[in-house]
Amino acid sequence: MRLRLHPPRSVGNVLFYVGVAVALGLLLREGFRLGWPLFGQLVVNGLTLGSVYALIALGYTMVYGILKLLNFAHGDVYMVGAFIGFGVLNVFGAPPNSSLPVWLLVSLMFLAAMIGCGGLGVAIERFAYRPLREAPRIAPLISALGVSFFLQNSVLLLLGSQFRQYPFGLINPGGVQLGTVFISATRIFVIAGAAVLMVVLTIFVKRSRLGKAMRATSFDREAAMMMGIDADRVIAATFFIGSALAGAAGVMFGLVFTQVFHFMGFVAGLKGFTAAVIGGIGSIPGAMVGGLLIGLGEAFATGYVSSTYQDLIVFCILIFVILVRPSGLFGTPAIQKV
């Protein structure tokens, strides 16, 4: 799980460093051209967006690590999380006419979204993926596609296609002025919250019994089962944790960007997966770094190029990384055993 920075001996490695250097050079040029305050603002925006992507990427990477399954429905779980948060807001009312203090309201939103999404993730695993454990690789992928489509259209059916509005500046309408850069309280909260979740997750996976079982199962499921680990339980727990993180990411997205809608999960899921691939799929620190990189890339693309090109630029980053560094920044190269 270490960052692999090899000396530039192979063509792929040379290209990798050249690409990184070109990207940094372009950023520096734009920074000098358009001024550093904008640059600072973009970094803050990128870190916020990146925290959300990192949380989504964690779910992808954990599930992939353990099941070797690409969970296409993960982005839609994130969308459901955003809507659960919205539902809690609707029930208790947004401040100032809320019946609860703000901190309690926000924690309730996160709690409900995380538990709800976790349960949803476990149900998806139980009914759509577990029957296909021994099936050819393509079957669960198509099943996942079906789940994604089902969730998306169910939300469309139940809640309609209009955008739902989170109140602006729910946590604290103010912010911090850092030199020339203004950081809103919501963004600080989101970045800090995501960091806390990631630290907790890392400690959990490193130290706890269940975390150990997860690592063992992802390393070799059959061997882990022979050692007495209940693989089904571990997989269900993985889905619960990954989906709960996605639910938290959904609420965070709503808090910062204030608009949620039924199709938001598709693109966010793509970006989350891209983040997981860039970091090295299966690696937890990789997902965090990859998420932040994608968020920053997207923010810079929006600020320096145009927001219409942000998806295309992320796509180019994905292709670049896959071609020159298929195992990602933190991943270990896959050895195919026969």
Binding site: F127, P140, L141, V147, L156, P326
Partner: protein, 483 residues
Amino acid sequence: MPSDELPSVPAPPDAVDRPRIGVDQWVADVEGREDERSQLRRGFERVPSAGWLAVFVAVASVLPFLLNQGDLFRYGLFTLLYALLALGLNVTVGFAGLLDLGFIAFYGFGAYFYAILASGHFGIHWQAELAIPVIVVGAALLGLILGLPSRRLLGDYLAIVTLFFGQAFVVFVNAANPKGLSGGANGIADVDPINFFGYELTTTKDYYYFSLIVFVLVLGTLYFLSRSRTGRAWRALREDPLAAELMGMPVNRLKIMAFMFGAGIAGLTGTIFAANQTGVFPGDFDVSLLITIYAVMILGGVGSLTGMVIGAIVINVSFEILTPATPDHARWLFYATVVIALAARVRPWQRLLLVLGGTAVFGFVVHAAVQALSPSATDGTVVSGGFLTDVIRGWAIVPKHPGDAAKYAYVGLVVAILLVTRLRGWWRALALIPTLYLVAFVWENLLIDQPAVTRFILFGALLIALMTARPQGLLGTSRVEIV
């Protein structure tokens, strides 16, 4: 070859007692399983493929005249377009086993390319005999470009790259629209009709017959292709890429070829689509079309050519029936599908009878009880006329103002269906009765009003259900795991 022409091999006297060398249990049982099939089915199987194709073409070319109603040519055209797309996708996914989720981009590429080559957008008006080969080659080249990373990517990475590629294509033609190339969100209008050596296809009927010819050509090509050296190599690649490579197959070239073939067919289909619609718009090439084509392919059975045609017919007919214009047809289709699905899954027949009869009785009892308690809960208007409507009125609960009750019932229904799949035997049959009634309640109060969303929900559910219950689809052959 009919089996009676084969010279009969006299069995060695002790053949029954010991297993033959090189023949395992599964192979040894083939004859037993052959006998289990009905005479009728074996008769069907003896008809050569070309015969079936001839029957299909004959029916397809005559049917629109016999059933002289509605937009039958348009329905037929779209069925053929879906079948063509599924055939193209089947090359990449079914033959070669590469999960291509950016397939719709090739279709869109073909449509946009034709729109650019033959419309007033740039003032270029190419003839179809020139434009179609250029488009097919162009789409195949795009497939080559997308296929290049596939040399290094294992299945799942390829899926996400292609999915992203499909998304990037939509963004490219819609929002990015460099130098006005693709017309942005407004698309390109006034695309020329297909024009062959001065003969112009004007009506939908012309396009229908043109697509039928294209379809026969593509199907014939794929039929021979799938039996050729390349086709067998693709299947070997699908079953085990590593073993295929060890046997000396040019794995990378095969993968790229599969991509190019699929992309070429999609580009050709896109051309017909753009010319018939006389315009292209970014919204025509989104994820929902991808899911539809996957549903066609999965339903028909991955890898089966006949399956693609049947899948396209089933999906497109249900698509056309599930429209707001004809709620009565949609209702018939829905209940018929539920009953057929039950008949296929619930055994023995006594249990099936119990479920169906029980649901009917249960419905009338509940309806009577609810009516006695609160008359307003059952006097809502049942959508549309027809024979079923009267039955539904006395059987299902349709409140005047369903409000959120139908939405909660939908969530409850999903949970109930999931729970039913966990039950076994008679418990499942008993639990099915209220679940089915809940299905009717949700359908009458929520789904029938929004057919556009409903069909996608059903497609999503279909993909999950088929994968978990019968992953090989309707006509696919289940694989034998050899260890």
